[in-house]
Amino acid sequence: MTLTPLRRLLILAAGVLLLAGVGTWSVLSAAGRAAEDDRPRPGGPAFTSGRIALDEPGRLVFRNTAAGPHRDRLVSVPADAPAGATRTTSDVSCLRFHAAAGTGVCLQATTLLGRPSYRAVILDERLGTLRTYPLAGIPSRARVSPSGRLAAWTVFVKGESYGTAFFSTRTAILDTRGWRLSPNLEEFTVVLDGRPYRNRDVNFWGVTFAADDDTFYATLSTRDQTHLVRGSLRARTVTALTRNVECPSLSPDGTRVAYKKRVLGTAALWREHVLDLRTMKSTPLAERRSVDDQAVWLDDATLAYALPADTGARTDDVWTVPADGSGSPRLLLKSALAPPAPAAGHAG
């Protein structure tokens, strides 16, 4: 059969109609699902509007991931009975959030020229905006020091690798007293195996702060290895301590680091461990599932972390486990990301 120009155009028109139909249908069904996501589900948590304060004793403040109009908002519940509690909502949305001593850091998504764009917002104790910092990529980790003076965040940056399709991380530390920003930990001096170390493939993520507002711990990755590093903000140095440690989290007493340890080669499988910094001995925790989160210490004996919920996509549940390897995991919150430790007072 020869194709006349008219036949060609007819076939093209039919093809365009068919493909446009499939495309439109997929967009409409996805839009339908998005709308469904915005409707509260039966069995989900109850909400009330009210006042949230970061320094209010005995309350947990966290990002709510339950389907409905309050998805991704910061909410608070009483720390001593968080499970079925009515959630007090704010109008602040965060992808990542952490707070301590009345200072919060909230990593948000916005748009710029029709493209996604991100920023870090420093919050005061009433969730008011103190400062805003543009981010170079997608938010990943956020932390505030125990005193509330330092904040740190990690983002993914596309286009920094030797190729083009994948991306590296960038970690910044902010001193809120004087608002001094160290925009890139990669500019710090690295000491690895006792020697100064330089390599373009160095990446940092997951900062956690000690109480002295100078010392911090973080993950350093280079040559397909991850290291636990201890850093000094004043000296602008980091020193590698041990290998295969990701997303460290320093205990309130400053003696131990909870972290995720990669098991099974390069597969995305991690087990949560606690490393004693005095003996450098690691203890696996009772949680047997793969934890991909920077855990938080609710107190010196208890860790909290998020795991994907079985109920739906894009939703996490928060679990707790004893920090000494004993016991078993317990569900703390449904549809939430792990909350920072409650403000001092009568902690739950």
Binding site: A30, R115, D292
Partner: protein
């Protein structure tokens, strides 16, 4: 294309007249291939634009959870290009091989819907393979459908249309995400439909390139079954091309210059560091390059037809050298990032289509795709080596000295290229310099 034509350098006719003139002078094959590339690039760039978001927000990927697939894939893609070019000449059907390449990239889109990193890696690998397969036969089709004196213009039109698609892709993706929050599956499905449309346009409107044709339509006949294969399209003949002095000169120049062309990712990083622009604007830097490339691709191609490909090709590299120099020594004025991006876009406009046009002029028709693939592969592998070397130099000496080394290398290689690409003998005008009119 109208956009591109507006910035054409001169001519006393009114703009619409010039546009009509250009459209008439460009064969339907080139316009059809340009449309296929535009549509396919919309599809590809839709995925590229949302992939990081999908990996991190959609799949909940942790820092650096995904492997470093990328470097290896670049190398593979270059070798696949050689295969694609050779195959196309061997089966004497450029359209078939290009179609398989476009088809692979369309077929892999549904794989993205599987929320698993393995499936995702496979989809990306298939997409690269498809891109590698189609590049050389497509460029051969373009060159075979344009008369020698209009090669630059044909490639210019094609590259402008191609870049238009690349610019539109992310906009389409975020329109979809705007209509359906978190609807990454819808983005991938629409991307698949768009890619299928590209294949459909190719099948319906692009002639097979079996014969050379000035117009296009008459080359559309299906090859007769069992047609005797002409001698000299096998692998030995393909590599035998390198015995031709003029192709060897082009190949050598492409490799030499590729070895000193700092990859886009590094260049944008240097722009960001040297000019201290807002980190938030970092993702917008490639848009600047693409916009300039789009505006100048056709004018640069026409200029190459008029004043010679060698001059335009070398001028493009001079632009890149100037961009390096600005990054190294210019004070950080607000205009600096714009200047660098304009020069970077100019570099692409003056070289990306001009090089295959130059190759086409020195390679016989039966080995057209092989020749283009040979030079393209050499260039791609050289650029990949440059990336590795530049990364190592950056780590060892810091960004400034690394760039200074690249600039010095580029200056030497460009000078060498200027000598190597000289017309063979003044008595016989070399094709590379274009037909003087």
């Amino acid at each position: 294309m109208y956009l591109a034509d507006r910035s054409a350098p001169r001519g006393s006719t009114s703009a619409p007249d010039r546009v009509r003139g250009t459209v008439r002078a460009v064969s339907p094959t080139v316009l059809a291939l340009g449309t296929v590339s535009l549509v396919t690039d919309v599809s590809t760039e839709m995925v590229t634009a949302v992939l990081p978001l999908y990996l991190v927000v959609g799949l909940g990927l942790s820092p650096l959870g995904f492997g470093v697939l990328d470097g290896v894939q670049n190398g593979v893609s270059a070798l696949v290009q050689l295969t694609g070019g050779h195959l196309a000449d061997r089966v004497r059907d450029h359209k078939l091989v290009a179609g398989i390449g476009y088809g692979l990239s369309a077929l892999c889109k549904p794989l993205l819907l599987v929320p698993h990193l393995g499936a995702l890696g496979a989809a990306l690998a298939l997409d690269r393979t498809g891109k590698g397969l189609r590049t050389a036969p497509r460029d051969a089709l373009i060159s075979l459908s344009a008369p020698p004196e209009h090669q630059g213009r044909a490639f210019g039109v094609h590259r402008a249309m191609d870049t238009t698609g690349a610019l539109l892709g992310p906009i389409v993706a975020f329109l979809v995400l705007g209509a359906a929050a978190g609807g990454y599956d819808a983005v991938f499905a629409v991307s698949g439909c768009v890619a299928a449309l590209g294949v459909l346009v190719l099948v319906l409107f692009v002639p097979s390139g079996k014969k050379s044709a000035g117009g296009g339509g008459k080359a559309a006949e299906v090859p007769a079954a069992g047609a005797p294969r002409e001698e000299g399209t096998d692998l030995r003949a393909a590599f035998g091309l390198l015995r031709s002095r003029r192709l060897r000169a082009l190949f050598g120049c492409a490799v030499l210059l590729g070895l000193t062309t700092v990859s886009d990712a590094f260049l944008y990083l240097l722009v960001q560091r040297r000019t201290g622009i807002d980190e938030q604007l970092f993702p917008l830097l490639p848009l600047g390059t693409a916009a300039v490339f789009l505006l100048l691709a056709l004018p640069a191609g026409r200029l190459a037809d008029r004043v010679g490909r060698r001059a335009v090709f070398l001028a493009g590299h001079a632009g890149l050298l100037l961009a390096y120099a600005l990054l190294l020594w210019a004070p950080a004025t607000p205009a600096l990032p714009y200047l660098v991006l304009v020069l970077h876009g100019l570099f692409y406009a003056a070289t990306d289509g001009v090089l295959p046009a130059a190759v086409a002029a020195v390679v016989p028709e039966r080995l057209r795709a092989s020749g283009i693939a040979l030079v393209g592969t050499g260039q791609a592998l050289a650029r990949f080596c440059c990336s590795l070397a530049f990364g190592a130099a950056w780590a060892a000496w810091g960004d400034g000295p690394a760039l200074a080394a690249a600039a010095a290398g580029l200056a030497c290689c460009a000078a060498a290229a200027g000598v190597a690409l000289r017309p063979a003998r003044p008595a016989r005008p070399a094709r590379l310099t274009g037909d003087p009119r």
